[in-house]
Amino acid sequence: MSVSKWAADFLSQLSTDITVAEIDIPSITLWQIESHAWQRFAELALQQNLRWAAGWAEQVQNRFLINACFEKQGEYFLLRTIIDDSSPELTSQATVYPAANRSERHTQDMFGIKFVGHPDNRRWTRHQAWTENSYPLRKDFPVQGTPVGITAPDMHYPFIKSHGAGVYEIPVGPVHAGIIEPGHFRFQAVGELILNLEERLGYVHKGIEKIAEGRTPESLAKLAGRVSGDTTVGHCWAACMAMEQAAGLEIPPRAALIRGILAERERIANHMGDIGAICNDVAFVFAQMQFTRLRELWLRTNAMVFGHRLLMDRIVPGGVACDLSEASCALIKKEIAELRTELADVILALDLNTSLEDRLYTAGFLSEQTAAAFGTVGYVGRASGQDFDVRRDAPYAPYDRVTVKVALENQGDIASRVWVRYKEIRTALRLIEEFIDQLVAGELRSEWQMPAAGSEGLGIVEGWRGEIISHIRFDADNKIVRFYPRDPSQLNWPALEKLVLNNIVPDFPVCNKSLSGSYSGNDL
């Protein structure tokens, strides 16, 4: 593929230092480098302000492929190096890009690849379900593992300690007080003030990457739709996009437009639910009741029009499994008009509320620098000045035929994240209308073509939490050999550890909700 000006410049600058092989695979720019230059590449990339977006490994016979995905100005490329399994070692990119930190720890736990110089090489995804010297994503590791009796709790994880007069520790989770996913938070506090927070996730690790192996495209799409249930459309779309790339398949225009409508409906449903929940966390129940009511109406329309409240399994390899009748289009448009009026009322009440103002402004502050350093994406990034949205900056069908207005704030507090999300609801409503207006008659699904063995694809979409990256490689016989989904939460969770600092412990729930990370999408 042809590269843009910055990429060409960057490549020529690299060439004095690093040998880069440009490999042509359809729809992805792939740069392959020697393993010893792995970290050096990251240093040069950072100098050029490239964003580190994802990292994962693959095993191919007795070699490991290590991949990293970078982005600049909406242009993505895949960086790859190959190492031998006799010495699975590589310099760490996490020393340069904090965003790569947990990703490398995940690769370390799952593949047994050592990242030399990693600033924090404690285990991450591994608790006690498998032993230290076995690695679930290696081909010789059986999918059933070798569980003996009850899996022990992960008692001796070396948390960071702090000492001093009046410092105390609060362990929270994995089972939380509300109806919420499990995870552990370790606080150090003085009085009410949070000195430090450490997240310990991995409790809902379900072996998604491993059980993806050997699946057919249909079956993989179902699994992808359950990486994170609230993002079923987003993940399913990214995975299908990756599979379609590998198969060299174009989806019909009507299917693309319906995918767009589904994705925007998912965005609106989640934003409404979360804005209500954020208000509820500061005891403003009025908003919670309003937003859960509006969300419920919205989900009922989903059930009526698309056949599923959360829109699971509506996107399938090659297209979509649902259609929109004229009557449904009219219904959706009417619903949108009603929702706009309702939202205007509720938001006005929120905006004028002094108690919300008191609790949400300046709380949970994330600076632009920290947001950039962690590669924060989605509304968390956009509330802290990170002006990026895949739909606008690397548009895919159907977003390539509309203008996506991206909401941006730079205050970085909880209120900013709420406002960004409110504006995103408004944009999404308009997008749905535009997609409906552009709906063309035609097929809903292209006929599947079996991809060649070894072919791969990289699906990148803007889910409601932000950029989702999904990598897929096929084996022979239409079977998946590798699936790696990078949920936006993987980049956003570390930001929570920073944005709670100097807030009071009782404000943690609202800080957490304002980020709204997925545990399942993180733990895989």
Binding site: H127, Q128, A129, W130, P136, V143, Q144, G145, T146, P147, I150, T151, A152, P153, D154, P174, V175, A177, G178, I179, I180, E181, P182, G202, Y203, V204, H205, K206, G207, I208, K210, L223, R226, V227, S228, G229, D230, T232, G273, F286, M289, Q290, T292, R293, R295, E296, L297, L299, A303, R309, L310, M312, D345, V346, A349, L352, N353, T354, S520, D523
Partner: protein
Amino acid sequence: MLKILKKILTTGVVTERFSMRSHVARGNEDELEQLGIEIKRHIDKQFSGSIAVRQVDAGSCNGCELEIHALNNPFYDIERFGVHFVASPRHADVLLVTGPVSRHMQTALLRTYEATPNPKWVVAAGDCAACGGEFGESYASCGAVSNVIPVDAVIPGCPPTPLALMKGLLGLMGVKK
């Protein structure tokens, strides 16, 4: 200030009216109402008026949680039938468990079960909790909740709708005569 209050008050009133109307318009009010009354009848008889439910996510994808949340929205408002969600297993009559049980959550689930006072009931909500669902059993997943703790009732669905959840809870009452 007056303006704000007025706004909130008027919007608040709109809620009630709107929710009732949309209810009828979307046609499951009768079923919901009936279900609720059934549930309430059983709860009155067997649990002296109310049951306390502790929800435990033992490894779900979070889809089930979203629908359990919905039980508390103004449409279903399950509390009016005597079902309320509590923050600690020590206060609970019923554990509502979702997800395949991830191995990393196995001990946590067992401990939550032990912390729940007797008599107690376990409801496995969602296909994953019922049979392992899309995730099944693996090195990372114990599969169905019944592989880890005794289960009294199962609510299928991926995820079960709020109505299915209500029916499931009612089913539990039927079992525990």
